[in-house]
């Protein structure tokens, strides 16, 4: 069974790899920091999403290319990405 490590998700194409998103902030206060971006900025774009997952106690990495739907809220984008990744892990 493959289990996604959600904190490992890196979305390419929104700045430095250190750019913070809801996937890799440590707490909500980081939203106020320089370098945090709402996922709504990627709505409508084709992007590569990199992630890590665990399988049989071993950490592995993979990436998928996805077309992000045009939606209004960050949670909608987040849920879409999580769904796409989890589908790829089935």
């Amino acid at each position: 069974m493959k289990t996604l490590i959600e904190k490992s998700i890196v979305i390419r194409g929104i700045g430095s790899p250190q750019t913070k998103t809801v996937f890799n902030i440590k707490n909500e206060s980081e939203r106020n920091l320089i370098g945090f971006k709402s996922l709504t900025v990627i709505a409508g774009r084709k992007l590569t999403v990199e992630f890590k997952y665990e399988e049989g106690g071993i950490e592995k990495s993979d990436k998928i290319q996805v077309s992000i739907p045009r939606v209004e809220t960050e949670n909608e984008v987040k849920d879409f990405i999580l769904n796409e990744i989890n589908n790829s892990l089935k």
């Binding site: 920091l33 370098g35 409508g44 084709k46 045009r70």
Partner: protein, 595 residues
């Protein structure tokens, strides 16, 4: 005559007048400068900018810039970018402050560059690092197809193009790329030339042809290769109701996406030339198909801009770095010099994305570092020319121990933990960065980069005001939006922002986030190792080491953190915060962190 006591020397090769003497510290004045700066040419900023863009400077010549002015957002760039709704008549989030006119002495090193080191005629003793090509001040915006621009238009057709010589793209109308500013570029490419076995994920091949009237299964079929170099594919073929289906027995090797293969009609129960099956390869297993242009230019420069921070990564298969950029048509055309037609053909539509700056006002070049040699101040921004606005607020509504009379930031504390923030009293004042500078500001050295765009690693030393003691301080990283009212003798090695320090705060090392705090009186000799956010600190919060995320804790009635002994706040393996200290019998004691 050579000035032999000159501490910083313009880097002009083969010019015998300039000899570096790092071992002797002298004081620079325009009187000494006159001994070696001969006949500088007076230029206005507009004239200097045009000479640079048109590559008309005379290398080695000196220029006397007669109308330099520093500009900055009066309430700081972050508030300008957030652009909150004004709640005070004197608060305009995007108001630009323009400093007094200053005369700078600069030397050309090429037709479009000046020496990194220039001099102030107005403030004798000052040395400046000056970017002459930054002619706008602005805030960030993001460009990708479908994005809404600041003028409410929607971006479309924002994709890579090919003009017969170069790959390029056009900026949206009214939003040119700006010299001197941050420019992040991203695009994805699909390299269809990669070869390997037929892909294991379907759809991997497709078939076409006339199979009317055919049926049945045919095993171990080896298609011949029409285009490409692939070989070894072995298929099991079945035909039902005029539709052909494939099962792959051997995936072969050296196939590429788009390759075409052939199965003669006679091999699948039909006639050659009539019932032939043409197979198209849809994907192959190869190390990587996708590559990127992904990196930051800090900043865009005249002539050719080089990406200082390339992030491109594709697993190592594609080795090209982020392409160099050349701006044309006043910044409306961005040419990617290192990409070729094959890259243009590989570009994936709608993946181009740019994060950069759009202009809100004019600039007159940008001082990225100013050194006051008399007071030993060396900071990555123009501390002489900037002013920031502070609005008086009653901080007792946030922390009753503070009393009144302290200054807030902007017209409200626009970020947590204050929500809408305490109301302003109606009073405000515009401060220089180092107020009372002749009394207090000295021996100050800040590292980091002082760019025009105020984004990312550039321009982060913004919206600071110091009007009390502030000395012997070294800041190596982010430090912004603070108002320091009294003593402050610290080393900062990480983010430390949006704090109001009401009284002494010294001998601390901040190694990571320490945000949105209000400090009442003494807060001394502490080490912040991780998050320390949104806490209420009692008077005399001292000698503590914090090694964990400590959030929303009220220390105002705590005993140990206020004691004159060392405490450590840490996180246990069960995720519970704990405080430890050593008692009078040398026994380690553990308690709740606010006990």
């Amino acid at each position: 005559m050579k000035p032999n006591n000159f501490p910083f020397i313009a880097p002009v090769a083969n010019t015998e007048l300039y000899t570096q003497t790092n071992d002797i510290v002298g004081k620079f004045t325009m009187n000494s400068a006159k001994e070696f700066i001969t006949a500088p040419t007076d230029v206005t900023y507009s004239e200097l900018y045009n000479k640079i863009i048109n590559e008309e400077l005379i290398p080695g010549s000196w220029y006397r810039l007669t109308d330099y002015k520093s500009v900055n957002f009066l309430n700081g760039w972050q508030i300008a970018a957030e652009n909150p709704t004004p709640t005070d008549p004197n608060f305009n989030p995007q108001e630009i402050y323009e400093g007094e006119v200053e005369v700078l002495i600069l030397q050309a090193t090429s037709p479009y560059e000046i020496a990194e080191i220039g001099y102030s005629e107005t403030f004798q003793g000052d040395i400046v690092q000056y970017e002459p090509f930054t002619n706008k001040i602005g805030i960030n915006f993001e460009v990708a197809n479908g994005n809404t621009l600041p003028d409410s238009n929607t971006v479309s057709g924002f994709d890579l193009k090919w003009d017969g010589t170069n790959v390029y793209f056009d900026m949206p109308t009214g939003y040119p790329a700006l010299y001197g500013h941050y420019f992040y570029l991203y695009a994805e490419f699909q390299d269809n030339s990669a070869t390997g076995p037929i892909g294991s994920f379907e759809p991997n091949i497709s078939g076409s042809g006339n199979f009317t009237g055919l049926g049945g299964s045919y095993n171990m079929i080896s298609p011949s290769t029409l285009t490409g170099i692939g070989s070894g594919l072995i298929l099991d073929v079945s035909i039902k109701s005029g539709v052909i289906y494939f099962g792959i027995t051997n995936y072969g090797d050296d196939y590429a996406v788009g390759d075409t293969l052939l199965i003669l009609g006679s091999l699948i129960g039909g006639v050659d030339g009539v019932n032939d099956a043409t197979i198209t390869v849809l994907n192959v297993d190869a190390p990587s198909f996708t590559y990127y242009q992904d990196g930051t230019f800090e900043p865009l420069t005249p002539n050719i801009s080089i990406c200082q921070f390339p992030y491109s990564f594709d697993g190592g298969r594609y080795t090209m770095a982020v392409s160099r950029i050349k701006l044309k048509s006043n910044g409306m055309k961005v040419v990617l010099l290192d990409l070729v037609e094959a890259d243009y053909n590989n570009y994936i539509t709608d993946t181009l994305y740019v994060d950069t700056i759009y202009a809100l006002g004019d600039a007159y070049g940008w001082i990225t570092r100013r050194i006051d040699t008399f007071r030993n101040i060396n900071v990555p921004f123009d501390f002489r020319g900037r002013k920031y606005r502070r609005f008086e607020v009653d901080l007792s509504s946030v922390n009753s121990s503070l009393g009144t009379g302290y200054y807030g930031i902007g017209d409200k504390f626009s970020t947590n933990p204050f929500g809408s923030g305490p109301a302003t009293t109606g009073s405000y004042q515009d401060f220089k960065v180092f107020d009372n500078e002749n009394q207090y500001a000295s021996n100050i050295e800040w590292q980091s980069i002082g760019g025009a765009d105020a984004y990312g690693t550039r321009g982060i030393n913004d919206n600071n005001v110091f009007f009390g003691q502030f000395a012997s301080t070294k800041i190596e990283n982010l430090f912004s939006n603070n108002t320091i009212a009294e003593s402050f003798y610290n080393v900062i090695r990480g983010p430390f922002l949006q704090n109001v320090i009401g009284n002494n705060f010294f001998n601390n090392t901040i190694k990571f986030l320490f945000v949105n705090n209000t400090i009442g009186t003494h807060f001394q000799n502490n080490t912040i190792g991780d998050y320390f956010t949104n806490n209420t600190v009692r008077s005399y919060f001292q000698y503590n080491t914090i090694k964990a995320e400590v959030n929303s804790i009220d220390f105002s009635s705590a005993t140990h953190v206020g004691g004159i002994y060392n405490c450590e706040i840490f996180r246990r393996s069960d995720n519970t915060l704990q405080l430890s200290y050593i008692d009078g019998t040398n026994t380690v004691q553990y308690s709740a962190i606010n006990a």
